[in-house]
């Protein structure tokens, strides 16, 4: 049987021409013509400026744009006002190929990692085409991070107030961190930089074959990188690459991100349950935290609480399929306003959700959907409880959430069949 290569002949020809490289930057695009110009421009400036000694390649995988995005990338500029930066030393390799596989980011990311492996790069980075206008020198630091520090996987860490992004701070971040004993501040970030070792190890994995992995790929890669095999770290940045993604409605974002989180924990279940969180190597941090200049947004807390109360009433039959009676009772008291939605309760709920996913009591997406009202309740409670406390108070709450998660994790692992109870 012939081998079905994911590399098209055209791409391979371009890779042969690019040859050995030090830094590969991949940009998966889909109709990003409005934002791609400055991004490509900044990458070009980073290549020609701080990275001029490195052999650099820009690889765009286009997922079927109809607005001329690939042409912009090939030209390097969208209009005359953006002057293409000439590299002072080297030939510039700017490859743009259409992706013909199943649509979605994961296939494009896989191609980038495979290309990085073939080119023998020291660093490969994925850049979000919809990110805000980047600073070339910051980009260069990010691109080089794996090579310069010996790390296998680096996530950018933009400045964030603890009152921002409750879905990350209250759910995705603590859950993944609890599972692996260490976690990225932004596990769902769309940008990453990794070593060739990491790229080579994952370019061929079957995780790409699962259609479900598509939306989940960013969280999944974070989860994979947290395994003890990899040296992972975070790079403090001044920019917020998430700005462009603020527009997704909560229900959909929640289903995607929480579904991705649960699916990741499901896929790597054997790995994370087998390790001891206390012995995990902490993440390396690069740079220093930057101040957040934008005021945190105001969430409609009342509305969220109402959604929680309604959801508790309506979804009770479904929730009861994976939450034990005492948890249901506790949640009921919270919904009635008789008790706080504290960290311990929330951690318990989340690990029951993990258990439901693992035991396939419900499909993962349904578990995620069932969690939405509960999340709204927890997030509303957290926001209300910490609104007067300032950033430090909120951070302290999040620390205690992390502790509660660890306790819930220990409890969960101890109840797995064939598991000796673990201290925790």
């Amino acid at each position: 049987m012939g081998h079905q290569s994911i590399l098209s002949d055209a791409l391979l020809e371009d890779l042969v021409a690019a040859g050995q490289a030090d830094v590969l930057v991949g940009i998966p695009t889909l109709n990003d013509v409005h934002t791609i110009g400055p991004v490509v421009q900044a990458i070009g400036a980073a290549f020609a400026g701080p990275l001029h000694r490195q052999r650099t390649v820009l690889l765009n995988i286009d997922l079927g744009s109809s607005d001329g995005t690939p042409e912009v990338i090939r030209r390097g500029s969208r209009s005359d006002e953006l002057v293409a930066v000439r590299h002072p030393l080297r030939t510039v390799h700017r490859i743009s190929v259409p992706y013909h596989g199943a649509p979605g980011r994961s296939g494009a990311l896989r191609l980038v990692l495979a290309a990085a492996d073939l080119l023998g790069v020291r660093s490969v980075a994925i850049v979000d085409p919809a990110r805000g206008p980047p600073d070339p020198s910051a980009l260069a630091t990010f691109f080089l991070a794996p090579h310069a520090t010996g790390l296998d996987f680096v996530r950018p860490r933009p400045p964030r107030s603890p009152h921002e992004a409750p879905l990350i701070t209250q759910l995705v971040r603590p859950l993944i961190a609890a599972a692996w004993g260490r976690g990225f501040a932004e596990p769902a970030a769309t940008e990453l930089a990794c070593s060739r070792r990491f790229a080579a190890a994952h370019a061929g994995m079957d995780l790409w074959e699962r259609s479900a992995a598509d939306e989940a790929i960013d969280v999944r890669l974070s989860s994979l990188a947290l395994q003890p095999t990899w040296r992972a770290g975070e790079l403090f940045t001044t920019e917020d690459a998430h700005a462009a993604h603020a527009a997704v409605p909560l229900a959909r974002a929640f289903r995607q991100v929480v579904g991705a989180t649960l699916r990741s924990l499901l896929e790597d279940h054997a790995a994370w349950t087998a390790l001891s969180p206390a012995s995990a190597t902490p993440l390396a941090t690069l740079g220093s935290p930057q101040p957040r200049t934008v005021a945190p947004p105001q969430f409609p807390v009342d509305d969220m609480q109402a959604a929680f109360a309604e959801g508790m009433g309506t979804l009770a039959p479904i929730l009861a399929t994976f939450l034990p009676n005492e948890t249901m009772t506790a949640l009921g008291r919270v919904a009635a306003g008789d008790a706080p939605f504290d960290e311990a309760l929330w951690a318990t709920v989340l690990f029951h959700a993990v258990a439901a996913s693992v035991r396939r009591v419900l499909p993962v997406d349904e578990v995620a959907m069932a969690l939405l009202p509960l999340y709204e309740g927890r997030a509303a409670w957290f926001l209300l409880a910490t609104s007067a406390l300032g950033d430090e108070g909120a951070s302290a709450r999040n620390t205690s959430l992390a502790d509660a998660m660890q306790a819930a994790r220990a409890e969960y692992v101890s109840q797995l069949p064939g598991q000796a109870p673990r201290g925790g």
């Binding site: 020809e13 042969v16 021409a17 050995q20 030393l89 030939t91 390799h93």
Partner: protein
Amino acid sequence: MRRLAGPAETGYSLAACVRAGGFLVDPEWYRDAVFYELHVRAFADGNADGVGDFLGLTERLDHLVDLGVDCLWLLPFYPSPRRDDGYDIADYCAIDPAFGTLDDFRLFLAEAHARGLRVITELVLNHTSDQHPWFIAARASRDSPLRDFYVWSDTTERYRDARIIFCDTEKSNWTFDEASQAYYWHRFYAHQPDLNFDNPKVLEEIWGVMRFWLDQGVDGFRVDAVPYLIERDGTSCENLPETHGVLKELRRRVDTAYPGHAKVLLAESNMWPEDVRPYFGDGDEFHMAFHFPIMPRMFMALRLEDRKPIIDIIERTPSLPPGGQWGLFLRNHDELTLEMVTQIERDYMWDEYARDPIARLNLGIRRRLAPLMDNDRRRIELLTAMLFSLNGSPFLYYGDEIGMGDDVTRGDRNGVRTPMQWSSRRNAGFAPAEVTSLFAPLIDDPVFGFASVNVESQRGSTSSLLSWVKALLRVRKQTHVFGRGTIRFFTPKNHRVLCWLRSLDAEDVLVVNNLAATAQAVELDLADFAGAVPVEMFGGSLFPRIKATSYMLTMAPYGFYWFRLRRI
């Protein structure tokens, strides 16, 4: 594909040769020639005093004939205080006694000509030594009749826009003369006052000097520091039209006085090619000029494994008038100059080729070819092969044909001007003298020392660098296409492969170079040559016939091919 319009295609033919003095003289012989640059002092000692001389050089001429070079370029051998390796001349029309006598020189010249070797010498127009009788007389008094042979001023305010070239040692282009209480102008060292070419008498004196040597039989001059002859306020004092006027006049006089002798004038002008181009005039100024900027870019391209630097400089190289020719070199008696590169490129070159700051001098690197290449034969061969197949006449620096080393710890550029290593015997066979009497210590480190690197041992080995260079010269001499053909660059997708085509009349030679330390595959678009059979020029191997589709070649690390494209 890029086309560099070289000198107008002038086919080589017997008819073009002029009969002069009983010999057939090709008026454009310099376009096919391979030049060999040497120091008389450092080449061979014939009188056992530890200093090279014309007697020694004459004895060693057979080595040069065996090597296959066509023309010798002798570095200054005139009486001189030797504070700038002889470029500070104290007497233009004499031989430094350490190197022999004028009779020794005439004997040498006759022997060289008898072997078919031509000889060009140094003509330092711009300045003299401060020990030259002209300057001694000029500074003696403000009323001296020779006062106007030099450029004087009471202040340092004139010509302020002129840069300082030897920035490591000189603070100003003006130096105060205590004797006559005035400043004199010098673009180089303070002990090298500039001649004043605004004074017509200076031109006449210089023409007298040129006639003297041309009458001895030398075949031309390498003219030193040509851009700086004339000074004008408000300018950089470089490349001025008046300077071109002086040079055109000298060329006119040479052509008139020596018709049919094919004397050649070669300009040293370390400038961008577009600034050098005017020195060719309309074929009425210089015959040749060095192409300085391409040299560091060849080294840079090799280290970057990227053809871009070479393509970039070729793109900004203008075409030459008929009969014009670039002089190309990898290394010479000076530092590997990095004046004609950007700051980013210079930093890169310094970091890659001169990590040890002691190897840096002015804006350059004082090293020989072999040490720069880490003594890697493949890289030395690739660069040499590129030098011999680009559009210009190649200049070899003495000792580089055997891969001699250097000593960066010696002052100035003396580390690359050490005695030629002839054999592993006493004093490297350079001088039958006491070791202590040698003008400079031999290179004796374990890698490059004369015990391991010398002509005698390499002559005996078919796999030596010397044997390889001889073979390269033989191949180059098979055809005039390298000296006179046009050049056209190909840009296959693989940037590690630098590829060009030399064409002259019906002859096409394809040159493919792999700049990378790793094996490479390259697909060339040779549709224009569909049907031709590539014949590898070193071994004569036939390669598969070219088709309309792209031609696939695999290249060994630092490998290169010269293909004659035969339409059979």
